[in-house]
């Protein structure tokens, strides 16, 4: 049962990672990368590492996303 749930999350993470590469709208790509971090933190929790899960959720999903959004505001939003 556990292995199915973890495999589903890994599959979702792969889909989000590929989507972050494909999207031409960089804002959507950043949100997809944020989703990769969120699912990684859920996986860390399943692997019984709640400390790492907390760090991943707060830094990977919140702060890195904010830095990327600021960077997009200074440059262009759409890829060629």
């Amino acid at each position: 049962m556990m292995i199915i749930v973890v495999s589903l999350f890994v599959l979702l993470m792969l889909v989000a990672a590929v989507a972050a590469l494909i999207f031409k709208d960089l804002m959507s790509a950043v949100i997809a990368a944020c989703m990769v971090s969120l699912i990684a933190s859920i996986l860390f929790y399943f692997l019984q590492a709640p400390d790492v899960a907390m760090a991943e959720a707060s830094i990977g999903a919140a702060l890195i996303t904010a830095v990327f959004i600021v960077a997009i505001r200074r440059t262009e939003r759409f890829e060629e």
């Binding site: 709640p50 907390m54 760090a55 919140a62 702060l63 904010a66």
Partner: protein, 228 residues
């Protein structure tokens, strides 16, 4: 010519890594230090969370190095970004009522959650770094949601320096009182699984939480201020 050299270097590095990795027995624990932390960590440090007892007690000096690295990174970013800061303010579209009220409502709750994480670092998962990052994410919400609100730069610098000074001061006090090594746990350990236990660990984690929170919030502040 360059590609031949790079392929040659890659082969050499790959050969080195393969020969080293073949020697390592994966999946078995050859060292005894991890088992010792699990068996005796709680009695020796008084912290219910074993990760905390390793991070702040057995490996406290490494943690001092980590917060120094973060400090240097924040200082460097501030020095790079604040060289040619324009004072001219761009006209910003004000946020809608729903966004503004939501940010103002969520901000103290996220601060409270971050403070809970780093105050209870020796009891529950998490600690100074995680709690500090959550506190900084509360400031990010305010910066992106309700524009025009800023923390004062001198205040955040003062909090940051105070956190670092408390960490080093407690480490030196442990050296003076405990007499054996830097950051030795000289306060009474107390009862396991209570808030006032584990000696100096909660004080250190509160100092780290304030320091990391103000540093990361300062980094985001510099980036956003420079982009306007």
């Amino acid at each position: 010519m360059r590609s031949i050299i790079s392929i040659f270097l890659l082969v050499v590095i790959a050969w080195g890594m393969i020969t080293v990795l073949q020697e390592i027995p994966f999946g078995s624990s050859e060292t005894r230090v991890g088992q010792r932390y699990i068996d005796q960590g709680r009695e020796e440090t008084g912290a219910a969370n074993i990760v905390t007892s390793v991070v702040l007690n057995y490996r406290g000096f490494d943690t001092l190095g980590e917060i120094t690295v973060l400090f240097v990174a924040a200082i460097g970013l501030g020095a790079v970004l604040s060289t040619n800061r324009k004072k001219k303010k761009r006209e910003i579209e004000s946020a809608s009522l729903v966004l503004y009220t939501g940010c103002r409502f969520l901000f103290p709750l996220i601060l409270l959650f971050g403070a809970y994480i780093f105050i209870h670092g020796h009891l529950t998962p998490g600690g100074g770094f995680q709690g500090g990052a959550i506190v900084a994410s509360a400031f990010v919400l305010v910066y992106l949601g309700c524009r025009g609100r800023r923390i004062s730069e001198t205040g955040s610098k003062a909090v940051e320096s105070l956190g670092g000074l408390i960490f080093i001061g407690i480490g030196l006090a442990g050296l003076a009182v405990g007499g054996r090594y830097f950051l030795s746990n000289f306060l009474p350990k107390g009862e396991l699984n209570t808030l006032f236990s584990a000696g100096v660990i909660p004080i250190l984690y509160i100092a780290i939480g304030f320091k990391v929170g103000s540093e990361l919030a300062g980094v985001i502040d510099h980036l956003i201020e420079d982009s306007e």
